[in-house]
Symmetry: C2
Subunit: 294 residues, 2 copies
């Protein structure tokens, strides 16, 4: 609550964690959340030995502020690869986790503390950017599903998140989960719930921020997939895709086209996640047709 | 297509039918669509014998233009009950159909002719106004389901509807269906499809008018119900209802309150239509609480 009496959700103290990755690592360590080994280096404090705390090179270097969609993240084999960042300030080093796959756990929290989660999803990345989402994560164990939700709930509670929280996770070979990144807002990995769940992440975010009781997160279908569309969404190609795939929900963000930009996404729901992914990729390949005569 | 080159959908010739109920009856007769027996009377042409063509009194009198939500419709026992309408112009008389229940068949048609229908729904009226919708219509026979869709498709094709068409039907004791009313727009009886179907009636209407291939009309759940909310929707009561019924989707039209006005609706999806209706009525009874201290 500001002096003006205006409430801001999520609270600025909570949001600060997603604005600086070093602050986030410190806070997650403080509340005992499993995460990759990490350390902080600066121009004046370069220590090859410090790197051993993150398992040595190669490791992951992160610019603490302003990263997005893989930007500000590098896998490095030496400090010479981050001279540009070090000239500006501190750099976060993280263990290069040998994960099985990436997951995301989404949920929402009201100011009063009410928490509600969706089932954990699998996210598939290409070049550090989320390309596809499968919901729920196929063949996830009960232990992983339960642990993912516990972690997200604990973070939301300890940090007093209000609104949607997305926790990006690595699933390890040992069947554990550790936290990669956090986002305190409706998130790319949650778009699938617009069609798949009784309550979408956008509705839930508004309910949470307005302190309205949270909506049910049951799924309306067995499974769903989300496939990102990059570059741009051409409406002539949307018509062609809609002809061939009447069950596909094609969302366009109406952004001006730019290579690699998330310009829209496709959602399909049904019974078989791999079949749905195949169909989603087929829809995207229609939207990606470069040879279409406009 | 106007002289200015602007296309208008649905075409004005099609819309004319929903603007004048006598024109509609004439057109439906011309294209051989089953409907109640009907006749037209005017101040200067009152003929008690003519009433026998609609089965005698009591019959249904309709003001040809401007009816809505049961307004402009009266069950009459004599001409003296419609003197006010007769002083203005012609009045449509219809047989008082002894129906089993009311149904509605919705579908959409593109300018190119593509047609897509949702499953026929049951509509329950209170005082001539739709109160609840069950989708699909419970225990409907294959013959009725098929006939309802055939009728709607034929009307759409013959009249060259573009966009959503809603056909209100009476289901007769003999297992037939006859047309009560038409609407060429997203309709109250189709709100349930926003949550229940892969494609909502609003999305389908836009696809049709913009000549985009129509979306799939498969259902995401076994069944769904829609319960209208009358008068007004108070947001404090919405919060109370949301607490008790997290799976209910409560839509408010943000209209100023007025007795009897359709102010919003509730949708629930699941497996058992009667259980869902019971839950929907319980949600409405929370929203209707007059004793709540605002």
């Amino acid at each position: 609550v500001l002096e003006t009496g205006i409430k801001i959700f999520p609270p600025p103290e909570a949001l600060a964690l997603t604005h600086n990755k070093i602050v986030m690592r410190e806070k997650l360590a403080e509340i005992d959340i499993p995460q990759p080994r990490w350390t902080v280096v600066s121009k004046d404090g370069l220590d090859e030995n410090a790197v051993s705390t993150v398992g040595g090179f190669p490791c992951v270097a992160k610019s603490p502020v302003g990263g997005y969609d893989g930007k500000g993240v590098r896998v490095i084999g030496g400090f010479d690869e981050i001279q540009d960042w070090l000239s500006v300030g501190e750099v976060l080093l993280e263990e290069k986790v040998d994960f099985v796959r990436e997951l995301a756990q989404l949920g929402a929290r009201r100011p009063s503390g009410q928490w509600s989660a969706w089932p954990v999803v699998e996210t598939r990345q290409v070049g550090g950017v989320c390309s596809e989402v499968l919901a729920p994560a196929p063949e996830v164990t009960d232990a992983v599903r339960k642990r993912a939700e516990e972690i997200a709930e604990k973070i939301a509670r300890e940090i007093r998140v209000v609104g949607v929280l997305a926790v990006e996770l690595f699933e390890t070979k040992e069947g554990g989960v550790i936290v990669n990144e956090l986002a305190m807002r409706p998130h790319n990995s949650g778009h699938v719930f617009t069609e798949l769940s009784v309550t979408s992440q956008f509705e839930q975010h508004l309910r949470a921020v307005l302190d309205i009781p949270l909506g049910a997160t049951e799924l309306r279908a067995e499974t769903g997939v989300m496939v990102n569309v990059f570059g741009g969404v051409d409406h002539h190609l949307v018509k062609i895709a809609a002809e061939e795939f009447p069950a596909a929900k094609i969302h366009s963000y109406q952004k001006s086209p730019r290579a690699g930009r998330k310009a829209g996404h496709i959602v399909l729901t049904g019974a078989n996640p791999e079949a749905l992914i195949e169909e989603g990729l087929a829809v995207r390949s229609v939207l990606d047709r470069a040879d279409y005569d406009r």
